[in-house]
């Protein structure tokens, strides 16, 4: 039994070595959120025993790979999380190639997320074939740090070409795709399924806060109100690692995107409850006093 397990481990390592042979050595890019990085296997001596970076285990996605962010519909948060990863990839000075087949990419928003527009190439194409060709060309270019874009329907062969091109140059492919692509054959290193999490309480809180005249609020409660209003504008996105080549998938995490800074962190479980309590407290000060006495 032990021999069989050792054999499997040995074979797994060999497959891993063959699959990652063409990749740049020891270059990993953070996804811009430690919670997401934590879902990925630690790149240490267990996976890459003969590499020079074995003593510096890192988390993140390896350069020279392609990754997919899946979303059921637009506006689910997949674009934001993938763009944050692209921003991290471009920190070494490489260019960002944006594949914008449907002409809806909005550069001012990307600039607010920290994307340097002077180092960004926006590629628009009339057909899927042209888009695929442009992605392949951009992935082959060593001066491009990441290729990011909306890629809906594309064949498995193209994805294989993308993977080989990315391995050759060390470029990172980050694609936003429909959730229907989950489970289909792919050459991506990972697939992340994103879904927006609604926060019903935030609206209740906001209406409750507006219902009370500002002049009647104390200074402390105004400050508290402002802080919670900001908190109420944060965005929640649930991310599930739907596929990971050579690793275990299925892990899930709910992320909170800070409205003010754009920072991404794990969402507080009691966030919604806090909002409700505060709204009740502001709407009816007696509740707050009772809570304070308790």
């Amino acid at each position: 039994m032990v021999a069989k397990r050792e054999l499997l481990e040995s074979l797994r390592e060999q497959v891993q070595r063959i699959e990652t042979a063409g990749r740049p050595n020891g270059q990993f890019v953070s996804l811009g959120c430690p919670a997401l990085d934590a879902l990925l296997p630690q790149r240490g001596d267990a996976l890459l025993p003969q590499r020079g970076d074995a003593l510096l285990p890192q988390r993140g996605i390896a350069r020279g790979t392609i990754h997919e962010w899946l979303a059921p519909r637009g506006g689910s948060g997949a674009e934001i999380l993938s763009l944050i990863a692209a921003r991290e990839a471009c920190r070494d000075g490489g260019a960002l190639a944006v594949i914008d087949s449907i002409g809806c990419f909005y550069p001012p928003a990307a600039a607010l997320w920290g994307i340097g527009l002077e180092n960004t190439i926006v590629i628009r194409s009339d057909s899927r074939r042209d888009a695929a060709w442009a992605i392949d060309q951009a992935l082959r270019c060593s001066a491009v740090a990441a290729v990011w874009g909306f890629v809906d329907l594309i064949g498995e062969r193209w994805l294989r070409r993308f993977q080989l091109s990315a391995e050759q140059s060390g470029c990172l492919g980050l694609f936003v795709r429909p959730a229907a692509e989950a489970g289909k054959p792919t050459w991506s290193e990972s697939q992340w399924l994103c879904r927006g999490v609604p926060r019903r309480a935030s609206r209740n809180f906001r209406i409750a806060a507006l219902a009370k005249p500002v002049a009647h609020q104390s200074k402390d409660s105004s400050r508290e109100l402002a802080a919670h209003q900001r908190d109420g504008e944060d965005r929640l996105v649930q991310v599930r690692l739907a596929r990971l080549r050579g690793g275990a998938a299925g892990a899930s995490v709910t992320l909170q995107i800070d409205f003010q800074t754009g920072g991404v962190q794990v969402a507080r479980r009691d966030n919604e409850a806090d909002c409700v309590r505060l709204s009740e407290r502001l709407a009816n000060p007696a509740v707050g006093r009772r809570a304070a006495r308790a």
Binding site: Y106, W133, A143, P198, R199, R235
Partner: protein
């Protein structure tokens, strides 16, 4: 010879966008008094729209004609505003196009047209006017090449007709007479019988003469010169002398833009693409040698393939960075030969794959570099160079992408200080611009990243149920699906663009739907209608 292209701005647009042909097109400019009509199509002229009138007046005239209210969503900067009208019992749809007048594009297109006349005249010039509509061709001593003056005129008419332009060409002894006859002849070939405007006088002088009852050139010629000088200065004398040839007139001829040029004539026409590519590679090598000797690199390359029985084919290659190497230029030329851009019969620009077929027999190949800049060689490091910083690699990528997809499809983004979201960014082609990339100050925008959506599309009219004193949305009917609103933040009021026409007044809301999606909606404060414009 003077070639008059009446309504040149309109003609240029119609050739570029054939769907505008025979439509009501109104071009306007912004001046200190507001937006004024600067050019109109004949169809709009028939509706009593006149050049110089306020744009709002023109709109009201055309609205009266159409008898229909303004379409929804105005101010969203559509390219045109279609309206419907009722003729008899049968509804008929005709569009009215309001567009900003791009005078620079007019001049550029006219210069290009002048350059295309190089096979007809050795020197071609533009009318010395802010808004030129005439070309002057120096045809002295060339008429016999076309079988006489009649043959030359016919050839010139064909030349412009093939390009889709309507032109009136007049041959005269002087520039002034040719200009007056081309613009004002109307079948009358005697210069003295033309209106006073044929003398190229200032509009104020023409108006004064008209008030004095002087309407024809012959009447001006009969007036005592001393009296004219005391009243109008030297202007009328100068124009009369120029028209009669008593005074010389010098024109600024359009210079040939070619900086480096080479060509090859074939003994026999060939249809073999490999042979043509081989000849082209030799020509590219010749030009590269010439440019390297002068420490220059080509940004714009133009190749022309001539056939004895067909119109020449043109291959343009624009580069992101200057190149003087065959291995950089030839792959792009090959790509362009395989991906020729055609225009289909409906007039809309479309990219149709066309492999360079064998039916086109080439007997003459020319290659020129129309724009070159100083070539800067950089010593590359042998070790430890970050490949991400290799701008040469990046420029090759941009060149390849632009050659296949088109220069307008590979663009860089530049932020613009505009409050209206769809105008807050400008996309500019990366290739073929030696200086524009570094022009202007960069706009830096600060704020929350979640303030603006990553996907911005044309405003889509939606139905929204709102409640409360602040009109915040509670339900959204999107693509036939009713979605509840879990949260919304706003309104962010944007009121701007009054100088572009009807001002844009919108209340923007960030809306979180029940399924967790975030949308960017706005309520048009003028029509109280809701639109979805983006997704976060």
């Amino acid at each position: 010879m003077c070639v008059y292209l009446s309504d040149w701005p309109i003609q240029r647009l119609v050739v570029a966008q054939p769907e505008l042909r025979r439509q009501r097109v109104v071009l306007y400019t912004q001046d200190a008094r507001g937006q004024r009509v600067s050019a109109i199509s004949p169809a709009a002229r028939r509706d009593r729209v006149r050049v110089g009138m306020p744009l709002s007046e023109a709109k009201s005239i055309l609205r009266d004609v159409s008898r229909e209210p303004e379409p929804r969503g105005e101010g969203v900067s559509p390219r045109f505003s279609p309206r419907t009208t009722q003729i008899g019992d049968r509804p008929r749809r005709f569009p009215v196009y309001f567009m900003p007048h791009d005078r620079t594009a007019d001049r550029t297109a006219l210069v290009q047209l002048a350059l295309s006349c190089e096979s007809l005249a050795p020197r071609v010039g533009l009318e010395p006017d802010e808004q030129p509509e005439c070309l002057f061709l120096d045809v002295a001593g060339v008429a016999h090449l076309f079988g006489g003056e009649a043959g030359l005129l016919a050839q010139i008419q064909r030349h412009f007709q093939q390009r889709g332009y309507t032109a009136c060409a007049v041959l005269a002894n002087t520039i002034g007479a040719a200009w007056g006859l081309a613009k004002f002849s109307d079948g009358q070939m005697e210069f003295s019988h033309l209106p006073v405007g044929a003398l190229r006088l200032a509009p104020t002088i023409v108006e004064t003469l008209r008030q004095l009852g002087v309407e024809r050139v012959s009447q001006v010629q009969q007036l005592p010169r001393a009296d004219l000088s005391s009243r109008f200065g030297d202007e009328i004398h100068r124009r009369l002398d120029q028209a009669s040839g008593a005074r010389d007139e010098v024109l600024d001829w359009v210079p040939p833009p070619v900086e480096f040029y080479t060509q090859r004539f074939l003994d026999f026409p060939t249809t073999d693409a490999t042979t043509i590519q081989f000849i082209l590679s030799q020509l590219v090598e010749q030009l590269c040698q010439q440019m390297r000797a002068r420490q220059r690199g080509g940004l714009q390359w133009e190749c022309r393939l001539y056939s004895p029985d067909q119109a020449p084919r043109r291959i343009d290659v624009s580069l992101f960075q200057p190149a003087a190497e065959v291995r950089h230029v030839m792959p792009l030329v090959r790509m362009q030969m395989e991906q020729q851009e055609l225009t289909n019969t409906r007039g809309k620009s479309s990219r149709v794959r066309q492999v360079f077929d064998g039916a086109f027999a080439v007997h003459h190949v020319s290659l020129s570099v129309t724009q070159s800049v100083v070539l800067i060689d950089r010593q590359r490091l042998l070790f430890d160079e970050n490949p991400r910083l290799d701008k040469q690699e990046l420029s090759h990528l941009i060149n390849r992408l632009s050659a296949r997809l088109g220069a307008d499809r590979v663009v860089g983004a530049r932020l613009v200080a505009e409050a209206q979201p769809e105008l807050a960014c400008r996309l500019e082609p990366l290739v073929g611009q030696a200086t524009a990339r570094h022009k202007g100050r960069a706009v830096v925008r600060n704020g929350s990243p979640l303030q603006r959506p990553l996907r911005l599309h044309s405003p889509l009219a939606i139905d929204v149920i709102s409640s409360g004193g602040d009109d915040s949305p509670t339900q959204v009917l999107l693509e036939g699906e009713r979605c509840g609103v879990a949260g919304c933040w706003g309104p962010e009021r944007i009121e701007t663009g009054w100088w572009r026409g009807p001002s844009v007044r919108r209340d923007y809301w960030r809306v979180e739907l029940d399924d967790g999606r975030w949308l960017w909606l706005f309520c048009d404060l003028r029509s109280r209608e809701w639109f979805c414009q983006g997704e976060f």
